[in-house]
Symmetry: C2
Subunit: 149 residues, 2 copies
């Protein structure tokens, strides 16, 4: 029953590329499987489960680092699950933030788009004008040493 899959079959089950699985193995997310006589990787059911778990985390937008944390928690089943809650909560916050950013962005783009008043040439294009003038950019970064006191 503990099937013996080759990497291509595993990839198909998980809906990912063969290269992705080898990549996860290099990163230590997937354990190195046994090998056939011809040096082919051979996977069992636990590998299938683990890969599906990883892919599901990824499809929920988690990073590989977060996914690794969840896997580690999963491998220590007697720990309290508050850590898992926290990880998911943090992720929800990040997704919310990104969502708000994108919504603001969408609004700005629509405003920008409305600047085009059917003129004919680029020279008179309201969109380009807006892109040039508006806001003058966020001024977030600018890494230079602090001015001496």
């Amino acid at each position: 029953m503990s099937s013996s899959l080759r990497i291509g079959e595993l990839a198909e089950r998980a809906g990912c590329l063969v290269e992705t699985i080898r990549y996860y193995e290099r990163l230590g997310l997937m354990p190195a499987p046994g090998r056939s006589l011809g040096n082919y990787r051979l996977y069992g059911d636990t590998h299938v489960d683990r890969l599906l778990f990883i892919r599901r985390c990824r499809s929920l937008g988690m990073s590989l680092a977060e996914t690794k944390q969840l896997l580690d928690l999963h491998d220590a089943p007697d720990r309290i699950c508050r850590d898992i809650d926290r990880l998911i909560d943090d992720h929800i916050v990040r997704v919310n933030d990104r969502l708000a950013e994108l919504q603001a962005l969408q609004l700005q783009l629509k405003r920008l788009r409305s600047q085009c008043h059917r003129v004919r040439t680029v020279k008179e294009c309201g969109i380009l004008k807006s892109l040039k003038d508006e806001g003058n950019t966020g001024r977030r970064q600018a890494r230079r040493r602090a001015a001496p006191a």
Copy 2:
């Protein structure tokens, strides 16, 4: 009036890092400026405008490739501006798509989070259970040659 800024001052005006400006220059988004006797880059007003334009496009989520297209259109002021409209429209569509994806994701995460019923150990954690069982992943990719007919 056509100021002569060093790269650090330009970076500060645009709210980006010095390295980012040099990176844009390597990519051809920023033209190579003149140099001082000591080989320092010296920028004028046109460079300031161009960098602000780029940063504004980036802050609107456009790729550098899209930004380059807009810059090229900008440099050919007699072309019809329909191309600009189209570029912005395409971008709006992509932002909308991403927004919808994120909203679906947020819903899934909240459902996932609600699986935790205040149990104590990871072993019994409903979140991990959901991550293992649910949906069995999208099965999108899986690149293998088509089965022979």
